[in-house]
């Protein structure tokens, strides 16, 4: 995946582009079309300098070739990371290729590839837009090629593109050469092919696209890809260098196209697009909050109520019911003549400023007029996170002002520094349960791209006392083929993850996890977690974590240490021996972690330490995070395991996507949809999968994160 080096490049580009993020790029050669490699553009097999709208996530499937032998499928996920940067991940099934002598055998070559495209220059009145791209730049590089391409529009419907390319894009009609392009693979694949970039033959390509109507489009191109290996292996013929396509756009989310390739093949493609910045309803469809109830002049000096316990009790019960209406639970309350401190459990708002804003307004409607200072502490797993302190007169004065005004008037402090407030009777204990279907899937098995298990899962969570949580999950597989996921051959590492198929063989109910956890606040800015029990499907033991994260800091530092014993394959109460074919599973593993909000919508995370198999190394992750909670990221783990011991892919890497359900439904909820696309589980760079890691639970409640969606305070 994206290794350290390109990440730095992306981050630098990010900071440059952020300067012009507000520039009107909207009409600057934007398209929701993709080529048959799934990258934004209106041509067929060739790239253009067009970009999708920022935040666009498209999935495209293109198929060409008739019959089983030489059918090729490219499934591509492309994300427009920034207005001028797009990244693609592709999973291809290429039919008809002859395996390399001594290499693995296959009937269809399944291959993963990554692309990155950067627009260097926007289109001007006379100047074209120019983009630089690296295609399949990590790994085996079967689709590997680099290009520099320019695109110019003439009127709203016609666009011309022309460029030069290396690798595949330099394999037909080359006009020159720049050095030699090596053919040997670095490592076991999975490493950037920097030794090949912009080397070898150079050829030119060109094409044009025309929107016949708003829905129908036509494109034609001269391709500089000779399909050398496909032709050599008899997988396809190359009759002429021209390709043609006819596209139909149903709407901004759905497109189909039919195309002809090289005078010999026909194919079809489908593109589905979503955009992180285009929710179901902008600003949300949820109901209105109750407005601020302003005090009459003179009321504020009346302290008569402080000696009347019934008035205090009535204020508390009014507040509790007003908050309940908003999906917020009043957890604890401390009220004196001029100051109220309340702790809340936000059960509804993924964007925490909205929970704060609704709470503040409910307080104006329920607390005696002399109470001028409101302190609202958000609780996470029974422990205080951020406290927001607001002046009631500011809330009254700024209700109709821009939200930035109330942000400036709000003070954020560590909730652990607040004196204890009296718990409400409903605070503990609390019991929650849920029953529903589950889906577990495994992708990129060489024999079968997608495998899955479907079943029923029951979960329960018991909040015993402040910070103490017992929880468990039991599931029953109904059908699926995860037990057929291939188990890689013996390596020099203990089998810590690669035998996942064995964990999917049982037909009896399994305990997914069963733990008791304690969440604590040992000191200011410090959070802690200790979890014991059956931590995850494969391991039992104990996990302890500590996190330093001031409420107003963009940096968080953490450490985690785990003691583990492998569980029986039937995932009931038994444990099995730590001895495996590749060695003994160590009892101890753990990491130190750094989390940083880089800015410009990027987050970085580094975890360094000892992994499950006893290998030492680090995981680097970079995420593009939108204020509304959308998150698309990539991570890579490199440990002291050699590429050959690790096996195919050289090291562990993956893509993670998190979509807040509120984006899709239009109503606030803290629920999100998480997808993790990663290579087949191997033993190197594997981490324990324990619930309740601190940073992700706390991040949303801290000031830097809340500031991003602070406009929701008054929503």
């Amino acid at each position: 995946m994206i290794s350290k080096k390109p990440i730095v490049a992306v981050a630098t580009t990010a900071s440059l582009l952020a300067l012009c993020a507000n520039a009107p790029l909207a009409d600057n050669l934007i398209t929701d079309n993709t080529n048959i490699y799934g990258t934004p553009g209106n041509l067929i097999d060739m790239p253009t300098a067009e970009m999708a709208e920022e935040g666009q996530m498209s999935t495209s499937v293109s198929v060409y070739g008739v019959g089983d032998n030489n059918q090729t499928t490219r499934t591509t996920l492309t994300f427009q990371v920034l207005p001028r940067v797009s990244a693609s991940f592709r999973y291809s099934g290429i039919g008809g290729l002859v395996p390399d002598p001594g290499g693995p055998t296959f009937s269809t070559l399944h291959d993963r590839s990554f692309d990155i495209r950067i627009r260097l220059m926007d289109e001007g009145r006379y100047m074209p837009a120019v983009a630089l791209g690296l295609q399949d730049f990590i790994g085996t590089g079967i689709y590997g090629g680099e290009y520099l391409v320019a695109t110019k529009s003439i009127g709203p419907r016609l666009r011309f593109s022309g460029g030069i390319g290396w690798g595949r894009f330099g394999s037909y009609g080359a006009f020159g050469t720049t050095g030699t392009r090596p053919k040997t693979l670095l490592g076991e694949g999975g490493i950037p092919t920097y030794d090949r970039w912009f080397r070898g033959d150079v050829a030119a390509f060109a094409g044009a696209s025309y929107d016949i109507t708003d829905k129908l489009s036509f494109s034609a191109e001269y391709s500089s890809d000779g399909y050398d290996r496909e032709v050599r292996d008899g997988a396809m013929k190359h009759g002429m260098p021209f390709n043609f396509a006819l596209g139909y756009r149903f709407n901004e989310s759905l497109r189909v196209s039919a195309y002809s390739l090289y005078g010999e093949e026909v194919g079809a493609a489908l593109t589905i697009s979503l955009n992180a910045r285009k929710p179901a309803i902008k600003g949300g469809a949820e109901g209105a909050p109750l407005p601020v109830a302003p005090r009459s002049q003179g009321d504020a000096v009346d302290l008569g109520w402080t000696t009347d316990p019934t008035r205090t009790a009535s204020a508390r019960s009014t507040l509790e019911s007003l908050l309940q209406r908003e999906g917020i639970a009043l957890h604890a309350m401390d009220l004196d003549g001029t100051r109220a401190h309340i702790q809340i459990r936000n059960n509804r708002y993924g964007l925490r400023p909205q929970a704060l804003g609704r709470t503040a307004r409910a307080m104006t409607r329920s607390l005696p007029a002399s109470v001028e200072t409101f302190v609202i502490t958000q609780m996470v797993e029974g422990q205080p996170s951020t406290s927001a302190t607001l002046k009631r007169s500011d809330i009254e004065r700024l209700e109709n002002a821009p939200a930035t005004d109330i942000l400036a008037a709000t003070t954020f402090t560590d909730g652990a520094s607040q004196p204890d407030a009296a718990l409400l009777p409903g605070a503990f204990p609390r019991f929650e349960y849920g029953i529903g279907p589950y889906l577990r899937f495994s992708v990129f098995d060489p024999d079968n791209p997608v495998r899955a298990n479907i079943g029923v899962q029951a979960k329960a969570k018991y909040h015993i006392a402040p910070g103490w949580v017992a929880e468990g999950s039991v599931s029953q597989k109904l059908l699926g083929d995860l037990d057929k996921v291939s188990v890689p051959g013996v390596s020099k590492l203990p089998r810590v993850r690669s035998n996942q198929a064995f964990y999917s063989q049982t037909d009896t109910p399994t305990i997914d996890y069963l733990t008791v956890a304690n969440y604590g606040r040992p000191a200011k800015n410090i959070y802690s977690r200790v979890t014991v029990g059956y931590l995850e499907r494969m391991y039992a033991g104990a996990s302890a974590e500590v996190l330093w994260k001031p409420v107003d800091s963009r940096l968080g530092l953490g450490a985690e240490v785990n003691y583990v014993q492998p569980r029986d394959f039937d995932q009931q109460f038994g444990l099995r021996t730590r001895n495996t074919t590749g060695g003994t599973i160590p009892e101890w593993n753990g990491h130190v972690s750094a989390y940083y909000d880089i800015g410009y919508g990027f987050y970085g995370q580094v975890d360094a330490g000892r992994y499950l198999a006893g290998d030492w190394g680090a995981t680097v992750a970079v995420d593009r995070v939108f204020a509304n909670g959308w998150r698309v990221g990539a991570y890579a783990t490199k440990t002291d395991v050699s590429s050959s011991t690790f096996g195919e892919g050289s090291f562990d890497k993956g893509i993670r996507i998190e979509i807040p359900l509120a984006w899709g439904t239009g109503t606030p909820t803290m629920q999100t949809s998480k997808t993790n696309l990663r290579s087949l589980a191997r033993d190197g760079g594997a981490r324990l999968d324990v619930n309740g890691r601190l940073y992700e639970q706390l991040r949303g409640t801290h000031q830097p994160e809340m500031a991003k969606s602070w406009g929701k305070f008054w929503r």
Binding site: G283, P294, G327, G434, S673
Partner: protein, 225 residues
């Protein structure tokens, strides 16, 4: 149901399988059951307003409160409702319905809405309001703030030309007053809109038709008390 919601649902489809079907957990609002229901139900089509029903609900609301009352209509969504005043804060009066939709008015001019979709979060209207309430021709700035698709505040800054028209009588429910027609044409990058008002001699706006958002387009508000 159009293609878009289906795709959206499909995007969340894998989630659907991972969602619980039945739960008592207070933070799980979206369950497999609610998603399935909404898929089969599709997006609720706005029902055409029954004038008799609206008249009846106007009478009910007027009878149930002594506070000011307004009627609000969103022609683009074929929706209409009656709202009574909930609170006045620093000159901003918030009117609401029992189904949790609200608008905030200053001197009868809208400065904010909630629960209508693509809501106006806040506005700076002092310049245009001085012209409109004073029934004077002139040009002033108007700032309207929205949340964008990322839930980040964006301000639409427009320059508006106010022109005064004729005066006649405004008679509706409990309001009976002379009223001057005033129009406000605002231009911004990428378009323009024209709001129209009927203004009482006191400067209070009795009736307005104003640009809300691309989703709701124009909304009308009439004072009933």
């Amino acid at each position: 149901m159009s293609v878009n919601p289906i795709l959206r649902a499909a995007a969340l489809g894998l989630t659907c399988l991972a969602l619980t079907a039945c739960t008592n957990s207070p933070d799980k609002h979206v369950t497999a059951t609610t998603i399935t229901k909404s898929l089969f139900k599709g997006r609720a089509k706005p029902k055409p307003v029954d004038p008799n029903q609206l008249a009846a609900s106007i009478q009910t609301v007027l009878a149930s409160t002594n506070a000011p009352v307004i009627a609000l209509a969103i022609p683009n969504r074929k929706a209409a409702t009656v709202m009574s005043q909930l609170d006045v804060n620093h000159g901003y009066a918030t009117f609401g319905t029992s189904d949790r939709r609200s608008v905030t008015l200053r001197g009868g001019m809208v400065t904010g809405t909630r629960g209508l979709g693509e809501d106006i979060m806040s506005s700076d209207i002092s310049g245009v309001q001085a012209l409109i309430a004073g029934r004077r021709n002139g040009t002033a700035q108007r700032v309207t703030r929205y949340l964008n698709g990322e839930d980040v505040t964006v301000a639409q800054v427009t320059t508006c030309t106010v022109s005064v028209g004729t005066t006649d009588r405004y008679q509706l429910a409990e309001v009976n007053s002379a009223a001057t027609s005033v129009s406000e044409t605002c231009r911004a990058e990428g378009g323009e809109f024209t709001n129209t008002y009927r203004v009482a001699p006191t400067g209070r706006v009795l009736q307005s038709r104003f640009w809300h958002s691309p989703m709701n387009e124009y909304i009308t508000i009439q004072a009933l008390r």
